[in-house]
């Protein structure tokens, strides 16, 4: 029996000719990531190790992005802890306010992820880098603490679910709609402990930004990782961002999958996940009129340039509905600058939106857009759990940037195809 793409990467990382699902392996790490919430815990834990220092100062990425620019004194202390650790250990890839971005948009943009890499990050959305044909998965602070001095981590080799994509997305439909549709289909634990491997001729039509969004939310189905094959678009992206070529792995013809789902991209419609789970996915034929209070366009899921372009194309020449707050957050400084050059920022501000420096802030109820009791938000982020963005009685509706922009104009959850 052959191996899946993920299994092949893990086998190579462990220096083994073959691995089996369920096998426990120790793999060498190509990158270890942490942020201002998780890295301080890891840094403190590292004091408990006999082995001191870091395994490779170029293979650790520290990105303060959650509560920065520091929202309060405790956050400032966390940032200081990360900053001092980075300086002390001469960490190459430490990104200070002003150079930083939301980690999962920033690392690929900086060319730090190559196909075939084995990556752990103390952030659940580390699975994003599967879009580039890498194995990457979220872990906790202790795994990060162990990865920094040793350059290794233990993994249980996962089984895989295959998503065979065909066709092309319709106008106003994007990667977000695809992944919300999939989570709606398989549930928030539908891929528990498993890889989600996206294959098929439909992959070629998906932009890299769409692939990042899809891989990013694998965790929302319980997945260990989400992964795409490497094709011309991947190679082009990697070249443009100065990444090492890496190693391209492909699944064996006779690889075994727990299940295969055929997904015709042309049939996917704008999709919204209702409170309080990402699996509560609905299309507009099932959505009544729901007035809203706030819209957030941004995050590691949907703060990339194509997300901002599609939102701006809907907001251009229109105005956000009275009483609605619309918060737009470009995911990195480069994306921000590009959006500025393309006139998108002007479009957002003229439409009545507020534009913020890159931060995870509102997505996890940190700051920059907390919801009051009973408020409703259409958000391009990734989780709509109880209290995630604020008060426990507030409600989050997950959607694509197009749907979010359309909703901001309408003042209710709105179908972008109306525009």
């Amino acid at each position: 029996m052959g191996m899946t793409m993920t299994q092949k990467i893990l086998a190579a990382g462990a220096g083994l000719p073959k691995v089996e699902p369920g096998q426990l392996i120790e793999a060498k790490l190509d990158l270890v990531l942490g942020n201002d919430i998780t890295a301080p815990v890891a840094i403190k834990e590292m004091d408990r190790f006999r082995k001191k220092g870091v395994f490779d100062k170029d293979k650790i990425a520290l990105v303060p992005d959650h509560f920065v620019p520091a929202k309060d004194i405790k956050s400032a202390e966390n940032c200081k802890c990360v900053r001092e650790f980075a300086h002390r250990n001469k960490i190459t890839n430490y990104f200070e306010v002003g150079q930083m971005g939301i980690e999962h948009a920033l690392l690929p943009e900086q060319g730090l992820v190559s196909p075939g890499d084995v990556i752990i990050g103390a952030d659940s959305h580390t699975c994003t880098y599967g879009a580039l044909g890498a194995f990457s998965t979220g872990v906790g602070s202790t795994d990060m603490a162990a990865g920094m001095p040793t350059g290794k981590a233990w993994f249980k080799v996962p089984q895989a679910i295959r998503f065979n994509l065909t066709g092309k997305l319709s106008k106003w439909v994007s990667g977000k709609d695809v992944i919300l549709h999939i989570i709606g289909m398989i549930g928030v634990d539908g891929a528990l402990y498993q890889s989600m491997e996206f294959t098929g001729e439909g992959v070629a039509s998906l932009s890299m930004d769409d692939r990042f969004t899809i891989a990013n939310m694998a965790i929302e189905a319980g997945g260990k990782n989400g992964i795409f094959p490497v094709d011309e678009k991947t190679i082009e992206y990697e070249k443009a961002h100065g990444a090492e070529p890496g190693t391209v792995f492909t699944a064996d013809e006779d690889a075994s999958y727990v299940a295969t789902y055929d997904i015709d991209l042309s049939q996917i419609k704008p999709t919204v996940s209702f409170p309080h789970l990402p699996e509560n996915a609905k299309t507009f034929d099932e959505i009544p009129e729901i007035p809203i209070d706030q819209v957030v366009i941004g995050s590691c899921t949907n703060g990339r340039i194509s997300d901002l372009r599609i939102a701006a194309s809907i907001l251009k020449g229109r105005h956000i509905a009275e009483g609605i707050r619309c918060i737009v957050i470009p995911a990195t400084q480069k994306i921000y600058l590009k959006a500025l050059e393309e006139g998108l920022i002007q479009t957002f501000i003229e439409a009545g939106a507020v534009v913020s420096t890159p931060t995870c802030g509102p997505c996890l109820g940190g700051y920059m857009g907390i919801l009051a009791a009973g408020e409703r938000c259409v958000s391009t982020t990734n989780r709509n759990f109880v209290g995630r963005m604020g008060d426990v009685t507030s409600e989050i509706y997950l959607a694509s940037p197009a749907t979010a922009a359309a909703s901001a104009i309408a003042g209710r959850i709105a179908d972008p195809t109306e525009y």
Binding site: R48, K51, A146, L364, V386
Partner: protein, 163 residues
């Protein structure tokens, strides 16, 4: 013998890390401080009622969502001796083992044990006993490597012991 014994707090499917420890408290990683807000957004009375040794029993996908280790840290620091669930989300599962919070997967126990029951868990045998109903359940055993991690008291002591 390694054993847990306490009163059960009962929850359903998909208890996520945002309700276990809301992000508004993530600026600290101090266990005692996190414990004060444990389960706050799903059960406001939890911290008032929980006693050292008490047990959480939940259904599917416990600990889904964020990778925040603050979640198992908060539960452990609140005094919880073990979490029993039908399944755990994978990052929570790793984190719990890494920090030494005992967890047991057992579908039948997760289906039948009720809030307020007195339950004991023998970690050597994996046997869960509901002392209120008299029923026993066999929890899933861990692969040997994970059991070594657990026996060592977590990932860091385990790695230290190998060097």
């Amino acid at each position: 013998m390694k054993e847990a014994r306490g009163t059960v707090f009962r929850y359903g499917d998909n208890v996520d890390t945002d309700v276990i420890i809301p992000a508004r408290y993530l600026a600290t990683s101090e266990p005692a401080e996190l414990a004060k807000h444990c389960m706050e957004d799903i059960d406001r009375d939890f911290v008032k009622k929980v006693k050292p040794g008490d047990i959480i029993v939940a259904s599917k996908n416990f600990g889904c969502g964020s990778s925040r280790e603050h979640a198992p840290i908060a539960i452990k620091a609140a005094g919880v001796s073990v979490v029993i669930a039908e399944t755990f989300a994978r990052i929570f599962y790793r984190n719990a083992i890494n920090i030494g919070l005992p967890i047991v997967e057992c579908k039948e126990a997760a289906e039948e044990i009720k809030a307020g029951d007195t339950v004991s868990v023998n970690f050597d045998t994996g046997i869960i006993t509901d002392e209120t109903t008299g029923k026993t359940y066999q929890g899933q055993s861990f692969p040997p490597f994970m059991q070594q991690l657990i026996d060592a008291g977590g990932l860091i002591p385990y790695i230290n012991s190998r060097e």
